[in-house]
Each structure stands twice: as structure tokens, then as C-alpha cells.
């Protein structure tokens, strides 16, 4: 994993933690937001919206089902940041 990757994951972790109102260290890599933090559908959209605004990318809402964990969010976001980095 490159330094860029780590920086991106940390940034995503911050975003997710803020939306779910927990501390960044409480967000595990693979745990499901819905199971570990009782995240609901509105918060899932909120995560996507924050990412779009912060990273200035466009992520279609059809990707939401794959964005249920930090790991999933990272993988989806990576696909939409390719070429932008």
C-alpha cells in the first residue's frame, strides 16, 4: 500500500467517522457500518455526498451497496479517482 493510499484511507475514515458520529479509530477496515455503528441509508448517502464534495469526484448512487465498509468505500473511490490523482 502506498503513502497515497494510506492518506486516502485516513481521509475516508475521517469522513465516515464524522457522519456516523464516532471517533475515527472506531471505524474498522472491514466491519459493516450498518452492523457496527447502526448506520442507516441516509447516512450512507451522506458518506457518498461528503466524498464527492471533498475529493471533487462523482460517484453514482448505484455504488452505494458496495460502500458499506471502509474497505468497500476505498475500493469504490479508488475506481473513480483513477487518473485524477
Amino acid at each position: 500500500m502506498t503513502a497515497t493510499d494510506t492518506a486516502l484511507i485516513d481521509e475516508l475514515r475521517e469522513i465516515v467517522a464524522d457522519v456516523l458520529e464516532v471517533e475515527p479509530e472506531e471505524i474498522s477496515e472491514t466491519g459493516l457500518f450498518s452492523e457496527e455503528h447502526e448506520a442507516d441509508s441516509l447516512q450512507a448517502i451522506e458518506v457518498l455526498a461528503r466524498i464527492e464534495k471533498t475529493l471533487r469526484i462523482a460517484v453514482p448512487q448505484t455504488e452505494l451497496p458496495d460502500m458499506g465498509s471502509l474497505d468497500g468505500v476505498y475500493r469504490v473511490v479508488s475506481r473513480y479517482t483513477e487518473g485524477n490523482a
Binding site: 464524522d18 458520529e21 441516509l42 447516512q43 448517502i45 451522506e46 455526498a49 461528503r50 464527492e52 464534495k53
Partner: protein, 386 residues
Amino acid sequence: MSSTRGGSPVLAVTGWSAVSPIGTGAAGFTEAVRTGRTGGADVSGMFDAPLPTGRAHAIPDFRAADHLGRKGTRHLDRSTALALVATKLALESTDAAVDGDAAGRAGLVLGTTAGSIRTTSEFSRDTLVEERPYLVNPVMFPGATINCPAGSSAIRHKLRGVNATVAGGQMAGLNVLRYGAHLIGGGHADVLLAGAVEEFSPHMAWGHRALTEGYDVPLGEGSAVFVVEDAERVRSRGRTPEAEVLASAFGTGGPDDTARTLEASVVRALRLAGVGADEVWGVATGEHGVEGLDGAEDAGVRAALGDGPVRIRVKRLVGECNSASGPFQLAALLAHHRTDPGLDGRVSVLTSVSADGAAGAAVVRGHRLPDGTVPAETHDEEGDEL
């Protein structure tokens, strides 16, 4: 004119609370009314946006998390936060049944002017200033909708009965009491949290400045919420209401007819309550701080009740709280009953008028709380006149 009668019962008030510029909780509010404490705070640090005045009757140190815990409070709009706290405190103050099966028969009727105008405006603003108009903050979307405080309060307190938001502006206090009485009378609910919420914001402050041009009326904020039930049902179970809303009346007319519309409302509400004008000890008037409206309200009150009753002007303490004005008036009446045992069983009147030609009144009978239920610091023999 339309009035409470027929299927609409006398409402018992079996608990209440306030989150206000002069105190929090029924006890805190009562103490502030007793001592005549006036709101007023430095608001210059509350928002990034400029404000027309550096001081207002806001509650700058209000933090929802202080009352509700951190989880679920970080992204709340201010109106919803105020409502969540006021409803929580109201529920803690009552012996009404709102848990288990009773939760399905317990609900809310919450007044407002137009919801959190700041949230609506900021949401709208994002559609203009963001790179794409849809790059709005989705978590603020519910808060941009007028019924968010009532819906969120029901979710937080698990109240599965009627959930209503009444956009009544200055008339909201009367609206929620009247609507609440009909809902209970019609069998749609057993217990209702009836009140209103209004937030301070740059949007409210600049709008208020335009509406009160030429007058010095401090803008306030806050929420007052009353637990109301069918009074007969309350008494049949051996419970004692703190107060009863005996009747109310509401009318509309041209803006120039407000004095007459109010007079007729007061007369009608008294008749429905079976109370004579000479029995009324006090009148809690709405008071806009704007000449024409206050003149009309004063004329209507004097025409219906003469000069006898004590005038209670709580707006001088809490500021212009718009939809929360009526609930704060009722709270002030109850505060007087809590501090003056001599008022036990006596009747007072609450009046409201609006710039749109509406006027109305409610008739309230207050009781002395059973010994030991009044917090010691408010148990003062001296009645207070504002």
C-alpha cells in the same frame, strides 16, 4: 369565528417544560418569571454570518448534547435540538402514561413559523454555490423540512401516536391547544405534547429586523411544551392536573378588525368555559412590540375584560419568540400559579393576534400543585406582576 365545544374536551396540563432565554425546565422558567429575569446575551460569536445586532434574547450556551448525550446530536438543526430537549424535559415532568402500549396513543402537536428557516436557506444556498446544484448535504435534508422537530422528537421518545406540526406563527400556541383538544376528543390520542419551537439564527435576525423596522424588539428563541390530556379522564384516575385549558376561540378578520376579532374571541371563549369576565385574574397577552398590533390587542382585551386583570407580558422577558410566544405565555401563567398559592383554582386568559388578521384566546384554570411538588426555590409567597 370558530371555538372549542362539542366533542372537544377540557384539556388537563399534567406536565410542562421550557427551554428559554431566561431558564430551562419548568422550575428554571418559573424562577425567572418570579424574579423578572430578562433575557439578553452576546450573540456575536454564535454564527459565521453577520448579525444585525450584537445582543439578542438567544440561548448561546444551549447544547443539545448536554441534555441528550453526544450520539445523534452533532448534525441536528437548532429547532430540532431545542424541540428534542423541551419534549424530553416535558416527558420527565409528567405522570402521564407514554410507554409500552400507551406510546401508540401518545403524540406531539408542535407549532412553528416555517421550521428551521436557516436550514432551509443553507440547503438552498448549496444549490447555488456548489459546483453542481445537487451537491447538497443530504443529512440536512430532513431538517430543511418543516416537520423535522416533531418527527425527530417522536423517534427519540418513541411516541407512535399522532405527530403533527402546526405552522401557526404567532397563533401557534392557540393552534396547538385547539387542535390537540380535537384530536383527544376525537379519540385520536390520549396524551399529547403540545407546544412550539423557534430558533435564533442570522436568517431570523435579519428577517426580524425587516419586520420590526422602527421598533426595538429583541429577537428570542426557545421552546415550551405542555403534556395535555382529557381533564375528565385525568381526574377520574385520581390524578391532579396542574392546569386546565377550559376553552378557546379563534377568529380571522381584516388586519384593521383585529381588536374586534380578539374581543369576540375572548368573549366566546369565556362563555364556552362558563366563566365570567370578572373572575379573570390575569391576561397573558402576546405583545408584538409593534404599535398597531399591540394597540389592537390591548383594545380587544380591555373591551372584553375591562381593566381589572393583571397583565402578564412574558415577551418582555423572553423576547420575540414567534410561534413559541403563545406557549411561553401559558408557561408564564403556570409560573404565577406555582409561585402564588392565592391563585389556586382561579382563571386567566391567554391572547394572541397576528399581523395577518387572526386573533384568539384560551381560558386557563390553574391549580396549586400538591405539597412537595413545587421546587423549593420557586415556593415564594409573593406574587409577581410583570
